[in-house]
């Protein structure tokens, strides 16, 4: 049985037995790269679930709204997604008993942009993972082609440390062994090396692209405030004008607000339509926090205390010293 079939069977069983009254998973779309989040209340709908190397959406955040109208929600979670679950648990935004977690080990997801750059977009019907390869189903005579998966993985998956779910009730498939192929801090160090003026120009250029669509915030499991300050009207903390200062203000405040709580899932950068390297900012903050308060990874253990969530007398005194 392949993973799609397992997902469908699992979902149907959960809904039939009323173990949960909602299942959140991924469906299919018209294009090979589409994998829209799917919401099921009825076992008959389970046939719409589809596993593919594009199941990138972290479904955890949907719990915030869906649990207002459901008793218990089952959802499919990859390793990175479970850090989002832990984030919501630790922030007391969901209760563990209200969720049923079906873990999906993940050896990395495919990047449509990389496929496109290699000339595979038009006429590509389906992408499937097989061991270390992607099998591309192509329109026309050739039929199928095997390509090395590593060349077409999302950057964030090359930097992944947790391919297996950290918390789950059930696991679909075998745990995967996936070495981290790239150091996620390498880019941070590279940007950091730039002289101050150059660094400023670099960020000016990147952030000037921001259109303030708030996709980064809306997709982020750490951005789970009941009311976001950027949505408040009176007072309005950040102006609506399309100005660099407002864009900087928004992006910098958001990254500071999730400091120590960012689970390093990279969803903000993935969702950004303007291709702004937001994770470079978030990881710079992770790096700073490590320097100041010691090694800490958010969303690993929901019972620990985030570095900025506590006070210790020996904490660095901050401004005066630096």
């Amino acid at each position: 049985m392949n993973l799609t079939e397992k997902m469908r069977q699992e979902a149907a069983q959960i809904l039939e037995s009323k173990e949960a009254d909602l299942v959140i998973g991924w469906g299919g779309g018209e294009y090979y790269w589409q994998s829209p989040p799917l919401f099921l209340e009825d076992a008959a709908g389970a046939a719409e679930l589809a596993f593919s190397p594009f199941i990138v959406n972290n479904l955890a955040k949907y719990l915030l709204e869906e649990l207002e109208s459901h008793e218990k929600a089952a959802l499919f979670v990859k390793g990175c997604d479970t850090r989002g679950i832990n984030r919501l648990l630790q922030d007391h935004r969901i209760q563990r008993e209200a969720v049923l977690l079906i873990g999906v080990p993940c050896a990395g997801l495919a990047d449509r942009e990389k496929l496109k750059a290699a000339g595979y977009d038009a006429g590509l019907l389906q992408v499937e993972r097989q061991g270390d390869s992607f099998i591309l189903t192509l329109e026309g005579e050739e039929g199928a082609r095997e390509v090395p998966a590593g060349e077409f993985l999302l950057d964030k998956c090359l930097e992944c440390r947790y391919p297996n779910p950290l918390v789950y009730d059930r696991l679909l498939g075998e745990e995967v062994q996936k070495p981290r192929e790239r150091d996620p801090m390498a880019r941070v160090r590279e940007v950091q090396k730039k002289p101050v003026d150059e660094k400023y120009a670099y960020w000016q250029e990147k952030l000037s692209r921001c259109i303030r669509c708030y996709a980064c915030r809306n997709v982020c499991p750490a951005c789970n405030c009941r009311e976001c300050i950027f949505d408040q009207n009176a007072p309005r903390w950040v102006g609506k004008a399309n100005q660099l200062s407002e864009k900087q203000n928004y992006n910098i405040i958001r990254s500071f607000h999730i400091a120590g709580r960012c689970i390093d899932c990279g969803e903000c950068q993935r969702a950004c339509p303007m291709d702004i390297p937001l994770m470079e900012i978030n990881r710079k903050i992770i790096q700073d926090l490590t320097e100041l308060y010691g090694e800490y990874e958010a969303g690993i253990d929901p019972t620990d205390v985030p570095p900025l969530g506590t006070y210790r007398a020996e904490d660095p005194a901050g401004f005066s010293e630096r």
Binding site: P37, R209, K240, N242, P273
Partner: protein, 347 residues
């Protein structure tokens, strides 16, 4: 017909830019957007669609209406400076059509003077698409990827040169500015164009069927179909801000009682505060109502007021960039499947 050799484009842009603002699709990192041309700009005429539509050049994301100052009790106002002539070079036929869809909105009396001034001084130089993107579906709206009806000058890509076809008075004037950079096209090139056009005419239209969608929606405000789509929506503004036809704006003040400005800026019907009333009520309280509104506006409300013309040009930007794959083509297909007055009405 005249033609311009691609090797002469830099000269051409230099010449045009000396007379007016010239905007071209420019590559910045991984992103192609319309930007003011300067010598050395990395122009990319191969990318089918710019990431952001060029609507910003007629209807900026943020624009000053007036500024004010109070000095010793005297209040003075200053109007926003007017705009000058501009050329949008390399605009694709779908985006040209989107401007034709914005015109009646902003020209309707009382006309929007900011838009009108810009529009009247804008010359559109369009390049036809020989190879549309996989997410393009302009033909479903009757747009021809090779030809933009509303362009002032149409360029046809013939490999090493563009055939140049001025269409309007503004277009003729621009062709004059091009002067000796234009050459007489050879017969073979004109034949080549004919072949391209014949091939385009016999190419299949996008399979998306819009028949009856507008009429069906008259009766689908309370249909359960919206349940299916809204739940995945993140309520971000990506689809609206990347859309060449979305045109909602907000008016805001910025400054102190002594000095400041009033400006308008794009707004998105996906945002909570879009319909948040001063007394606290919000007639579109949730994502269900907001998602429905966006599609109803594109496919029903706008056509209702504009002779049945849909407010979508099939550029595919929202399809490509929606982080949760809320795909307008899928929405249209699902609406098409619904029978008028059938099950699902009155959820």
């Amino acid at each position: 017909m005249k033609k311009i050799d691609k090797s002469k484009l830099e000269d051409l842009w230099g010449r045009l830019a000396a007379e007016q603002d010239l905007f071209l699709p420019v590559q910045q990192d991984s992103v192609v957007n319309f930007a003011l041309w300067q010598e050395g700009s990395r122009v990319n005429l191969e990318a089918v669609n710019s990431l952001l539509p060029p609507k910003d050049l007629l209807f900026p994301q943020s624009e000053k209406i007036f500024s004010y100052k109070r000095r010793e009790g005297e209040l003075s106002f200053e109007e926003a400076p007017g705009s000058g002539p501009q050329v949008i070079f390399g605009i694709r036929p779908c985006d040209v059509r989107s401007i034709e869809l914005l015109d009646p909105v902003f020209f309707k009396e009382p006309a929007d003077t900011f838009y009108k001034n810009r529009r009247e001084q804008t010359t559109l130089v369009s390049i036809g698409c020989l190879e549309p993107d996989t997410t393009c579906f302009c033909t479903a709206f009757g747009i021809q990827p090779l030809d933009a009806e509303g362009a002032d000058v149409m360029l046809y890509d013939m490999g090493t040169a563009y055939l140049v076809s001025p269409r309007t008075e503004k277009g003729e004037k621009l062709a004059e500015e091009m002067g000796e950079l234009l050459e007489e096209a050879a017969g073979a090139e004109e034949e080549g164009l004919q072949q391209q056009q014949e091939a385009a005419a016999s190419a299949q239209e996008h399979g998306l069927d819009l028949d009856g969608v507008f009429e069906k929606l008259n009766d689908m405000f309370d249909h359960c179909i919206w349940e299916k789509f809204y739940r995945r929506c993140l309520a971000c503004g990506t689809c609206t801000y990347l859309c060449p036809t979305c045109h909602c704006f907000d008016i805001q003040d910025d400054g102190s009682p002594e000095e400041g400005q009033r400006f308008r800026c794009w707004d998105s019907c996906m945002y909570e505060d879009y319909t948040h009333m001063g007394h606290g009520h919000n007639p579109r309280p949730g994502r269900r109502e907001r998602v429905r509104n966006r599609f109803m506006h594109k496919l029903n409300y706008f056509p209702k007021d504009h002779d049945g013309v849909y407010h979508c040009v099939g550029c595919g930007r929202c399809v490509q960039k929606c982080p949760v794959n809320l795909d307008i083509m899928q929405v249209i297909e699902e609406i098409g499947k619904e029978g008028v007055g059938g099950e699902g009405h009155d959820r």
